[in-house]
Each structure stands twice: as C-alpha cells, then as structure tokens.
Symmetry: C2
Subunit: 282 residues, 2 copies
C-alpha cells in the first residue's frame, strides 16, 4: 500500500546546526540532502540572519553548548559569505561544513573574477524581475485553481488537468512559487466524461496541457479523508473516474504521469521537462 509510513529512524545524539547570514534555506536544503544519506535522525537547529560578529559569537556559543550537553561535537552547515563571520564558526567546537568558502574560492580562480561577498545576496531579490514573476505566478495560479477562471489562459505556462484530488493544486502552487511558472488547473469531472470532451476552454491550449493521474486505490483513500463514506470517495467511483480520465487524455494526446508515488517536487520537475515553458532551459 502506497500510504504506509516508514518506521522512524534511530536518533543520533548529535545536534545539527544550519547557520546563515540570510534565511538559512540553502544551508538547510543542502544539509538535508547530505544527512538523508545516513540512517539517523538528528536534532536540528536553524540559526538564520547571522550577519554581525556579535551574532556569529552567539551562534558559536550555542554550538559549543550543544557539544557540552550532547557529549559529541555538533555538525554545522554554514552559508556565511563574509569570511570573518565564517572564521568565528570554524573556531567553534562543531564539525564545520562551510558551503560557500569550499566552492567560492575555486570558482574565483576558474572565472578569473572576485566574488562580491554580498550578504544574503541570493535571497535579496525583492526588486528583481525574477521575484516579481514568482509573485505574479502565485497570484495567477491561485486565481486559476480548480477551473475557477477561464480568463487569460493564453498567459498560462502550463495547464494541469486530472480528476479531483489527483495533486493538481499543490503542484500548480509549487510550480509558481519555485519557478515563477503560471500554472492553471482544471478538474476532469463526470460531466466531462459524459460529454466525452475536454472542458470547453482548453482545446486551444493543447500544447501546454499536462495530465495527472493516480491509482483508484490511493485516490479513494485521499477522498475518504475528506468525505468519509461518500459515493465520491468510493472505490467504484474512483475506478470509473480514473479510467475515464485516462481514456480522455489518451484520446486527446495529452501527456500525463501518475502522481501516486511522486512528491510535488518530482511531479513539477517532470512537467517542466515535458512542457518546456519558454522562459527557461531544462
């Protein structure tokens, strides 16, 4: 059954710190990717906005305190652009993984230019075109969630279709938030199956339509969580809807994937590979 939950991993006595002069999101994302290579759970502490020497000394103190109370040295992932701040952390009692210094110095040599050492640069993007696109895309995706609006579909980068609760909404929002992709989504409902046609506003945009499907068993589970015991959630109805939706997508030549065992990150990445919206290269 796809909804089984993995047993919890054994817990390590170690504390992991993510130290950053910005939000710490990069340090944390990266640290997670490395730590999931180990079958252990760690106590995790994020220390964002460490952008002065005082705050760096504070962070070092917390790392040393964890060393004393855990009896093992903490693991520290840091993205501190200024080397004086990074030095303070390196001298603490943690095992220091310095993500910026490790790669920036060799890149300076390769590119033949000095880095700017600008604190928080990668997240200080409120005024950039890219950031505006992301906010605009979030608003677009919300306004075009669940077939709410047919206006301005020409501006959509991607139009997701699929039965109710197949994962369209979180995927649309993720595409918007992470990539600035304007993603509309339309449910395929029994009315469409009876008419044997896509929702009427969609055919002109076939090139950017992408389908999500799901196994009837998983769909029924998800729908029972929302409306226990309903016909809507029954396995018979889920089988009917999924079957009809897949037939329709085949007939219309719509590319699709099954969301059953995929995370929204994996679904979004696959969609971008398939649809190739103009503004980016994949």
């Amino acid at each position: 059954m796809s909804s089984e939950i993995r047993p919890p991993l054994p817990t390590s006595a170690r504390t992991v710190f993510f130290v950053s002069d910005g939000t710490g999101i990069t340090a944390e994302t990266f640290g997670h990717a490395v730590l999931t290579q180990f079958e252990l759970r760690f106590r995790q502490i994020r220390l964002p906005f460490v952008d002065t020497l005082d705050k760096a000394y504070d962070a070092a103190r917390r790392i040393n305190d964890a060393h004393n109370s855990d009896g093992q040295r903490p693991i520290v992932f840091s993205t501190l652009v200024k080397s004086d701040l990074s030095d303070v952390i390196r001298k603490s009692q943690g095992m220091h993984m310095d993500l910026i210094q490790t790669f920036v110095a060799p890149l300076e040599q390769e590119l033949g230019v000095k880095s700017t050492h600008t604190i928080g640069r990668s997240h200080n993007m409120v005024d950039s075109e890219e950031y505006k696109n992301r906010i605009e895309a979030i608003n677009f995706s919300l306004a075009h969630d669940d077939g709410q609006s047919h206006k301005n579909l020409a501006a959509a980068d991607v139009i997701l279709v699929g039965v109710s609760r197949s994962g369209k909404t979180p995927t649309s929002l993720y595409l918007a938030m992470q990539y600035g992709i304007k993603a509309a989504n339309y449910p395929l409902i029994p009315d469409d199956f009876e008419r044997n046609k896509l929702p009427s506003s969609l055919p002109p945009f076939r090139g950017k339509i992408f389908g999500l499907t799901i196994t009837p068993e998983r769909l029924s589970e998800i729908r029972h969580e929302r409306r226990a015991g309903s016909k809507y959630a029954s396995i018979e109805n889920c089988r009917y809807e999924v079957n009809e939706a897949e037939l329709m997508m085949k007939r219309e030549g719509i590319r699709w994937l099954s969301s059953t065992t995929k995370s929204i990150e994996e679904i979004a990445t696959t969609i971008l590979q398939e649809i190739k919206p103009n503004r980016r290269e994949y």
Copy 2:
C-alpha cells in the same frame, strides 16, 4: 523607490549545469547561492533524474558539447549519490563541484557509519509523515486564505493579519509548502478599523497571530497594478489603512514586520523565529 529593477548583469560565455539523480532542486538552490556571489549571468541547464550510467554519459556529452560551443569549460554542480555516476561527470570537460562526495565522505568518518547511497532519498518522501504534513498544511492554508474560513483555527500554527495586498497569501502558502506550517490569514479591513477591533474570531488565538505591514507608497503601487485608479489603490486610502492597521496591532500587542523590502523567504523565516510553532526548533 523600492520597486526599481536592478540593471541586468553582464552575461558570461559559460554554461552552468545542475546534474542530479533526483529533481535537481538541491543542486540548483545551492548553485544559485554560490553563483550570486559573482556579478555575472550564466546560461543554466538542469539535468534531473540522471540515475543510470546511460543518462550519466548523456549528461557528460552535453557538458562536453557546451565546452566546445562556448569555448570555455562549463561549471557543473552535481548531487549524484552513486559514485559510478559521479565518476562519469567528473571525467567530463566541466569544472565539477561534487556536492555530495565533498561532504559525505568526511561525515561518514565523523559519524562512524556508512552512508546509504540511496538515489533521490531526500526527495523520495511521499510516504513520510513530514510530506503528509506539508500537503495537509497546503490544503489548510488554501482553505483559510483571506479570512475565508473561521473553522478549525485552533489547528493553525500561525495566523497572519494585515491590510489587503501586504503579502499574507504568498507567505502563508510558502510556510505551508516549505515547512508544513498551517498558516491562516485574515485581512484587516476598514470595517475592523471602524469597529476598532480585531476580526471577532481571532482574539482567542492571540499567541499565534503575526502581522504584516508595508509602506503606503509600495502598497499603492501594488494595488494600482490590480485596480488602476481606484480609491482602494489611492495613496490617501493606503496611508489611512496602513496607519490604522499598525495602530491596531500595537494596541493588541501583535508582533509584526514590514514586508516592503523582504522576500517571502525572509518574511517566513522571521515569523518562524518569532512564533516558534511547536513542532520545530529554530
């Protein structure tokens, strides 16, 4: 003016590749943090799902092709867990930043355990409790967007308040998507200012309320994009609303920040530091 757009950076002749056995999101997030230390734009290509030797050779070929056509060696950020795949990329003509191998080997030594070398482990989380929490939080935040529902506010981790278009919706969705935080949001509107009271369902939950404010000038700009020339967007009305909202938040003892020059990542990080929802440590 906070809405000025930075001039575009000079474009480098180099191509940057993000190569991953999973979605490539970690490689890309991390690569961006490093590359923004340089005042250059790069052509960027993401190669996700490189999980077989064949695909690794394909990736190496694309890297070599870019070398030939650019006349400079590409920069390659990779998160390939299996060392045979990573080896293929290392032997290509790119400058290889191997994010996993660089840090996993020292960690194996420090922890005294071997890594699992599981491909895509960090994004293969559909069945985990954490992933389910994220999806549930997205649904909660959507259902409680813009004061739509007063039901089940006890289950919210955070309740954002602020005038219309102060950034509540994207912040709520980001908190849900990135952290599995259930974030409701309520607009503060002229009715509330006239009654001189918070929306009536909120006072029992004061401990988890957080306010967003914004400068009247920026607010007026944003509102004009939505409803040009309206009273709603006029600078006089924006001054009135922002002033009343700030007075109310002060009187009610609500913590708040200005979203004017902050990204949703920065706003979300600050909120988590202030509100400290139960389930995580910050």
